[in-house]
């Protein structure tokens, strides 16, 4: 039900500027992911939207209304914290009802809303338990449930999966994705350092680096047309190969970028010749690390199994249509 606009938003602690001139427009119902390495300012930006951090420059608007000086509780937002931030001495029900009691809703309506959210997240069986009697995944569901009961215009997630183990992380990620579908009018803002979460969840991704926005776009735009060498390296797994020297110079660039999945490997013929250093077999894929003569180390991704082994001589051929070229400042050179 809400649009979120950031106009020239910046944040400084004393003389240290951690965010500079952030301009974003999030549409109603959109699922936007802020992604970037640690210290890029993504969590700070989220906390500024939440009202937990002051905005030291620029303007935040939700549904067109200025929000810079509005109390967190009056912004129509709800937030899910990395550490869950559940009240440890309250039951699951009390945790979910606490915010509603502040809003002076009557008891019947509180119960109805809590039960509805609990049903949606399949935590009805735990309503009388305390947080410490729950597993990490259940706690995170309670935290999400607490946020849902407030019926927010904007839903904020601050690295909600970071404290979960790998299997739970995938399950909870799917739940959050389906939550986004079930609340089509609620704008979702999600912070993560994990590009896989960003790619799988987002309608649009905002890549932050060093306090500025590197690129805003759909996952596929970022993957196919990265606006900088940083984005090219950050989005995609395994990471894009960046090659300097003669290969790049031959294309009139400082850096030559090619993703591991855009290189074909052959035992006898190809553009580059090299020696296998290491293979990593994941079953579904094999990553082959090759030391290419006169080029340097190159990582190749092969679907399924591969019978190459360390010290084998191999030939690699990059797909010319998938090459990314960057200048000395990391800006893309149109190919």
């Amino acid at each position: 039900m809400a649009t979120v606009e950031l106009k020239n938003v910046s944040k400084s602690y004393g003389t240290v500027e951690v965010l500079r001139d952030i301009n974003l427009e999030l549409e109603q119902g959109e699922f936007v992911v802020f992604v970037g390495p640690s210290g890029c300012g993504k969590s700070t930006l989220l906390r500024m939207i939440a009202g937990l951090e002051d905005i030291t420059g620029g303007e935040l608007r939700i549904d067109g209304q200025p929000m810079n000086d509005v109390l967190p509780a009056k912004r129509g937002i709800a937030m899910v914290f990395q550490s869950y931030a559940l009240y440890p001495h309250m039951t699951v029900f009390e945790n979910m009802a606490f915010g509603l009691e502040q809003a002076r809703l009557n008891k019947a309506e509180i119960r109805e809303r809590v039960e509805k959210a609990a049903k949606m997240l399949q935590i009805e069986a735990f309503l009388d338990r305390k947080p410490k009697q729950l597993s990490g995944g259940q706690r995170q569901r309670v935290a999400i449930g607490r946020a849902i009961t407030c019926d927010p215009r904007v839903f904020l997630f601050d690295e909600p999966l970071s404290n979960l183990d790998a299997a739970l992380r995938v399950d909870t990620r799917l739940e959050i994705a389906s939550l986004g579908k079930r609340l089509p009018d609620t704008t979702m803002v999600y912070v993560t350092h994990d590009q896989v979460e960003a790619m799988t969840l987002a309608d649009r991704i905002v890549v932050l680096n060093g306090g500025i926005v590197e690129q805003v776009g759909t996952p596929m735009e970022l993957y196919e047309r990265p606006a900088s060498q940083f984005v090219a390296g950050f989005i995609g797994s395994p990471r894009m190969n960046f090659l300097n020297g003669t290969v790049a110079a031959a294309h009139g660039a400082e850096t030559y970028g090619i993703r591991p999945e855009h290189i074909s490997l052959s035992p006898d013929a190809g553009d580059w010749r090299g020696r296998v250093i290491l293979t990593e077999r994941l079953g579904s894929d094999t990553f082959v690390h090759v030391e290419v003569d006169g080029v340097g180390p190159v990582n190749v991704r092969i679907e399924g199994r591969s019978e190459v082994h360390a010290n084998d001589e191999v030939h690699l051929t990059p797909d010319p249509a998938s090459v990314h070229l960057f200048d000395a400042k990391g800006r893309p050179i149109p190919g």
Binding site: A73, M79, A85, Y87, H89, G99, Q102, R146
Partner: protein, 315 residues
């Protein structure tokens, strides 16, 4: 089969080393706690006096309570339980403990809440707050005795200067104010200790739930009552028990500040007087034994009543 044998041998050797490590502490406790306590309880059932401790004879409950018939159908109860001075000292002790611990808890909580905030110079303030606690009790009691002196004390001088009192008050000598003086000094001295224990509890409260409360729109007073207070309650209760144990056996402040006053004589002071000043060693031992029982009873009652989590099962 051999596996279980091995395992039990391992656990037997663990048990053995556990006892080995515990032995020095158990031995020390036996020497410095159990033996003196046992001796005191024994002496309370004898006619021991300071110079004739070796010849003490068992006299039963005479030191506690004894009915002496005068032969004409009348008689009188003697012993500790019939001694009005003893009951006065029991009342003084409990009054002192309840009032001082209550004030110390409230003031300690307020100071802890302030010290838990971020502000410039917090480290300095935290250290400064501890000064009253760091001064030895005898020294601070003497210091306060001078400050509260009826003729030369600075307190009277200040109160007279600002016009709150017309005549100097004999704070420590007057039976009306002696207890107030003792309480004042003890609260001044021990509040920092309370603040420190509660501060430790406050720092265990995770910061993110305050942010969650902010998003929930919970006003500060309600945050304190519904979130902070319940979460630090275990720490506060432990601090209260610690202080209550201390306060119930209070001796030094009273003995230095207001010696020989019915108004402030506590159980410990009463016991000492009889043990050493009046040469009624057995009677003093009986008082010490009762003091032990009273403290044990109150502590156990308090722990049960507050369902205190001593084994950390619920935290």
């Amino acid at each position: 089969m051999s596996k279980t044998v091995q395992k039990s041998r391992l656990s037997r050797s663990r048990t053995r080393s556990a006892w080995l490590f515990l032995a020095p502490m158990l031995l020390t406790l036996a020497i410095v706690a159990a033996w003196p306590l046992g001796r005191t309880i024994w002496f309370s059932f004898t006619d021991a006096s300071l110079d004739l401790m070796g010849e003490a004879r068992f006299v039963g409950f005479r030191n506690y309570l004894e009915y002496v018939a005068w032969g004409d159908g009348e008689g009188q109860y003697y012993g500790l339980l019939a001694d009005a001075r003893w009951w006065r000292s029991v009342w003084n002790t409990i009054l002192f403990a309840v009032v001082s611990v209550s004030f110390e808890t409230v003031f300690g909580l307020i100071i802890a809440l302030v010290l838990n905030q971020q502000f410039r110079g917090r480290g300095l303030v935290r250290a400064a707050v501890l000064i009253p606690w760091a001064i030895p009790t005898i020294v601070s009691a003497k210091m306060w005795a001078w400050m509260l002196h009826d003729q030369f004390g600075i307190i009277n001088d200040m109160l007279q200067t600002i016009g709150l009192i017309a005549e100097p008050i004999a704070w420590t000598a007057s039976p009306d104010t002696a207890m107030v003086a003792v309480l004042m000094v003890d609260i001044w001295k021990t509040t920092p200790f309370m603040a420190l224990l509660i501060l430790a509890g406050l720092q265990m409260v995770p910061g993110d739930i305050y942010e969650a409360a902010k998003l929930d729109g919970v006003p500060p007073w309600r945050v304190f009552r519904k979130i902070t207070l319940p979460l630090i309650m275990p720490a506060v209760l432990v601090a209260v028990v610690f202080r209550a144990l201390d306060a119930l056996r209070v001796f030094d402040i009273v003995y230095v500040l207001t010696p020989n006053t019915d108004a402030t004589r506590t159980m410990s002071v009463f016991a000492r007087e009889n043990l050493f000043d009046y040469d009624k060693f057995a009677y003093g031992s009986a008082a010490s034994t009762l003091l032990f029982l009273v403290i044990a009873l109150i502590t156990i009652t308090f722990i049960m009543a507050t369902r205190m989590d001593l084994e950390g099962k619920r935290s």
